[in-house]
Structure formats: C-alpha cells, structure tokens
C-alpha cells in the first residue's frame, strides 16, 4: 500500500493556476471561496470579487483585470439579475470564449476545483449540473392527526415505503 502522508497531499493543490472567478454581492464570493478552501484546500484555484462600492463600469474593468491576470475562462455569479452578471455578459461580448454560470453555490465550486482540466464548456456544464442537483427540499411528513385523512398522513410518513 502506498503511503499517503499529509505533506504529500498538501503539496498537490497550488500546482495549477486559477480555474474560475467567483463574483458575488457583499462577502458572498469570498465566503464561498473560503468554504471551498476549508473543505478542499484548493481555495487558491478560485479568485473572488465583490461588487461593493463599484459602479457598473468599474465592475467590467475589475472583471477584465481578473481575467487578464488569471487566464480563467469560467466565471460564476450569484444572482442572474445582478450587476456582476450584467457585467460578465458585457465582457463576454469581448471575450466570446468566456463561460458565465449564474446562481453559484458551494457544490458547484467543489466540483470545479477538482476538475480543472479539459474544455471549459464541459467543466461548466458539469458544475452547473452538480449545483442544480444539490438543491433539494426535505421535509418530514406531518403527523397523521394534522392531515386531512389519517390514512394518507400515516402512509406518507413512511416515506420510501409508500407504494
């Protein structure tokens, strides 16, 4: 069996560059990158920017600068109608190879930092899929007495066994 020393594993991360840029409101993007770093140790693969205090024009400039500095072609934004998304779509006009994913969440980024090779389109598609499937709604069924009928209430409480 091979030795899996902590040092060896810890060396792995920073060997590659920036995979993606994360754009968010307030501290959201920085928070997501910090969470990614905590979980994977690969936070340095992501670059985060906040829109705080920046005009629309400045947002575009900041994104252009981040793309130029990092070489990243994948951009995540938090809100589809947000100023970053608008700015990113404008930048996309100038850099057609740029891929923009809206509605970023943590599972998307966790996927990206482990798969930063290959086509950016494929990376984006996978990441978006991961993010989408991570959104679930879970609720325990109400107790039988609260529902309309005791039978259906009792049955749905069984969850997977309902058939």
């Amino acid at each position: 069996m091979s030795e899996r020393g902590g040092v060896e594993v810890a060396q792995e991360p920073d060997s590659r560059g920036i995979s993606a840029i994360v754009l968010g409101h307030g501290d959201f993007a920085g928070g997501l990158v910090s969470a990614t770093a905590q979980i994977t140790g690969r936070g340095s693969r992501l670059l985060s920017l906040s829109n705080q205090g920046l005009s629309g024009e400045r947002l575009e400039e900041a994104l252009h600068a981040a793309i130029a500095a990092s070489g990243a072609r994948l951009v995540f934004t938090d809100l589809p109608g947000g100023s970053w998304t608008i700015a990113a779509r404008r930048v996309q006009r100038e850099i057609p190879s740029l891929v923009v994913i809206t509605g970023v969440n943590l599972p998307m980024l966790l996927d990206v930092v482990y798969r930063d090779e290959g086509e950016v389109e494929e990376l984006a598609r996978r990441s978006a899929e991961r993010g989408r499937s991570a959104v679930t709604v879970s609720q325990l069924s109400r107790a039988a007495g609260e529902g309309e009928g005791g039978v259906s209430g009792g049955a749905s409480r069984g969850g997977a066994h309902v058939g």
Binding site: H25, N51, G53, L54, S55, G56, E57, R58, L59, L79, P80, G81, G82, S83, T85, I86, R89, R90, R93
Partner: protein
Amino acid sequence: MSVELFRVDDRLLHGQVVVGWGQPLDIQLIVLVDDELAASEWEQEIYRMGAPPEMTVLFETVEGAATALESYRLDPRNSIILTSDVGTMRRLVEAAGVPTVNLGGIHHAPGRTKRLHYIFLTPEEEAALLAMAERGVRVTAQDVPAARAVPLQELLASEEAR
C-alpha cells in the same frame, strides 16, 4: 397601479433593484431610460436575460419615457423608472412630471466627492440635483428600502459620512 420609484443607479438593473426593491414593492415593470441602451439591441438582451420571468424590462430614450410616462402610471403593474446618471434623470424631470427622485447608487469616479458610501457626486451633479429640487422634486438617497431616505440637503452637507 403606479410608478413606485424614479431611481438613479449606475448599475441600472441589478440585485438591489430587482430583488431589494422589486420584491417589497411587487414590481413587474422596469423601464431603463438610456438613449444609448435604447439604440443597442445586444445590450438590451443582456438586461432582459437578467430579469426574473415575472418582470418586464422596457428600454426608452428620455423623450420616449417622457411621452410614455402617463401610460406607466395607468399600467396595472407597479413599475420602477431607472436612469444610470443624474444628467439623464434631470432631462426626464424637465420633460415630464416626476414627483420624487431616488438616488440609489452613484459610485466613485474622478472628480466626485463622497456623500454616502454609495453616493459620490461631482459639483455639476449636485447643481443638477438642486435644480430638480427647486422644481419641487423630492430628492433623497436610499440604496435599499430598509435604509433611511436621506434628504438632498442633508446628503450635500455630509462628507465622508457613512
């Protein structure tokens, strides 16, 4: 219903507008008043893509918006009228009856003085706002509904305030 807000915001359509104001005011119509935007199909598409499905986004020149203002007032949907700068809003104020102006976001740029953390103004912009106020327009600064609406006089008296 009514036009709920006449807003100056250099980000035009963005989170604070769509969600921050859009949700509590039940906004279903947003009119972006911008002569350049009104002439650019691809830029319009960018803004349309960003809006939630229940929200209609219209693009107008200052002239067009002034003419259509009454129809927005009579529209069953609540609306927000947006310009990206003070100059454009001043032109709208002079061309149509605008009761109030909300300063929502005018960010740092050379020549501007900080008045609030989201409002920076050049002397020309301040003069334009005062001219609007003289016409009877109530001008306040307020980025989101939960914040206090800061009256123009107080805004111009404050420097480096937060």
